[in-house]
């Protein structure tokens, strides 16, 4: 198969191998691309992962359900909340309990805020990858507003640890709604600026349009989901396919662009931020009253196997729990979005230039611990 060109010998003298990573600014962490180049053209890429394989799945087998949430937090740390939501939902399904609407609403609000924050960070970093250094600061500036909302309620910024099977760790702070409304108005003003700075820019468009084209079939075959998949026209938003939490109560559009190039993936995320703002607007004023935490004697999934799919900021997260009926799972598997999204890179980036490789890997929005777990 042409994907695994590990053993191709360098017959052509003009080819050479360059390592990008583990410590490389473009890989956003400790990914390693073993890149074979011809001139500046990428012949093929072999991604090497495992530089941050922390053995989370094994560790989960030793921890109780509430405890292991602090590990899933750290898997895809940019959608920490959504990861936890997935686990909690899975455990709740297993136990056959249903949380109150209030919890659902708050969870969804958190999830959407997380999504926006994650996309903001991605936007910042993507601009950096392409050499537009100022985007980094604008994205982070606006992200701080969301982090403030998180911190006020949960006490931590990046990794909230706010959710637990059966409900939430605490009720939201009284300022919660006000701050979110402020944020919505604020960010609606700032988003057009993002467009002026980057989206419309001719250099940016030249750098992204037609680069790294991924067809819909390819996306499905490789299991590329999330904004990257939707940029190829793959209808894969779990929030629509299998709505959970408060998503059945809100109206929103699934953003789909059929082109499949880097620019399309970019646009999906930009539009998703608008869409998330809409979702937030629908939810924030209508948070019903209700119990924050169900009274549970013990959190134990009954014997059996359970699977839960949710949509994180990067795509479909699946949580697969095999339980023996004890307080901790017998096997815990995370089907993480980035794991699948990563391996498409050889397919879509070979044939382009090195600079395009950076753009493409940026547009896939990789979070390495999510790949390695």
């Amino acid at each position: 198969m042409e994907e695994t060109l590990m053993d191709i010998d360098l017959k052509d003298k003009e080819e050479y191998i360059v390592n990008m990573g583990p410590q490389h600014p473009s890989t956003h962490g400790v990914l390693r691309f073993e890149t074979c180049l011809q001139g500046e053209k990428v012949k093929y890429i072999i991604p090497h992962c495992g530089y941050i394989h922390r053995g989370i799945e094994k560790m989960c087998e030793k921890l109780t359900y509430p405890q292991l949430l602090h590990l899933t937090d750290r898997m895809d740390y940019l959608s920490a909340h959504i990861n936890n939501e997935a686990v909690s939902l899975c455990v709740e399904n297993a136990m056959g309990i249903e949380v109150s609407d209030r919890v659902k609403y708050i969870r969804t609000i958190f999830a959407e805020l997380t999504r926006i924050a994650s996309h903001q960070l991605w936007w910042s970093a993507f601009g950096m990858d392409l050499g537009a250094l100022t985007t980094f600061f604008y994205g982070l500036r606006d992200r701080e507003k969301i982090l403030d909302i998180f911190e006020e309620t949960t006490g931590t910024r990046l990794i909230q640890s706010f959710i637990t099977p059966g409900g939430l760790m605490a009720d939201v702070h009284p300022n919660f709604q006000r701050r979110i409304k402020e944020f919505i108005t604020y960010f609606r003003k700032k988003l057009p600026e993002y467009d002026q700075l980057l989206t419309g820019n001719i250099i940016f468009r030249e750098r992204t349009k037609g680069i790294g084209v991924m067809s819909k079939e390819l996306a499905i075959d490789y299991g590329v989901t999330g904004p990257s998949g939707r940029g190829s026209g793959f209808h894969c938003d779990i929030r629509k396919i299998a709505p959970y939490s408060a998503y059945p109560f809100v109206k929103f559009n699934e953003i789909i662009f059929p082109e499949g190039d880097t620019y399309a993936r970019y646009l999906v995320r930009m539009k998703e931020m608008w869409e998330s703002l809409n979702v937030l607007e629908q939810l924030v004023d209508n948070i019903p009253q209700g119990q924050i935490m169900l009274e549970l004697k013990a959190i134990k999934a009954p014997k059996g196997e359970y699977y839960q799919r949710v949509e994180t900021a990067r795509g479909e997260l699946g949580v697969y729990i095999v339980s023996d009926g004890g307080p901790s799972p017998a096997r815990m598997k995370f089907r993480t979005p980035n794991f699948s999204n990563l391996f498409i890179i050889n397919k879509i980036a070979s044939g382009h230039k090195i600079a395009d490789l950076v753009a493409i890997s940026g547009s896939l929005d990789l979070v390495i611990p999510d790949i390695d777990r």
Partner: protein, 165 residues
């Protein structure tokens, strides 16, 4: 016909240039705007603003064993918090003492808190039925010596309010 096409091509060539330059100028307006406008700087000057810097009430800084003014805490050595902690950051070490009624009682000897492994998951504080724990607002932890991060939370000479039989 060919001439028309050429003209069109040349027109496109210049159109492209115009569009490109216009988009560049739009981008420059954003950055330039921030450069000119006053009061856009959002930087908090951390060490300078220490006096006014206040964390949110919920901020999880460092675990604290609550002591009242009599230097008393309310930990009764039930060890729930240590069991709840996912990464063993808490060790509750007790010693047995002879109570007044002759029965031996467990009292807290050392409440060891490993700040270096704590992941601030917040499971320990609600786990304590005695409400003996809380998070304080401290975040300036950096040290030169790793062993300084293992802390004993009960203050020297402190006693327990409620003594478990």
């Amino acid at each position: 016909m060919a001439l028309l096409k050429t003209i069109k091509e040349v027109g496109n060539y210049f159109n492209e240039i115009y569009d490109g330059v216009a988009s560049l100028v739009r981008g420059m307006k954003v950055t330039g705007g921030y450069f000119i406008k006053r009061g856009q700087i959002v930087t908090q000057k951390y060490p300078e603003n220490r006096a006014t810097l206040k964390m949110f009430d919920n901020f999880k800084g460092e675990l604290q064993l609550i002591h009242d003014e009599n230097n008393q805490h309310s930990c009764n050595v039930c060890n729930t918090c240590a069991r709840k902690c996912p990464n063993g950051s808490i060790e509750v070490i007790y010693k047995k003492v002879e109570g007044a009624d002759g029965r031996s009682k467990k009292i807290l000897d050392k409440y060891i808190y490993h700040l270096e492994t704590c992941s601030f998951c917040g499971l320990c504080v609600p786990a304590c039925d005695e409400h003996a724990l809380r998070f304080d607002q401290e975040f300036e932890h950096a040290v030169f010596d790793k062993s300084k991060l293992t802390k004993v939370l009960n203050k020297p000479g402190s006693t327990c309010k409620v003594v478990k039989e």
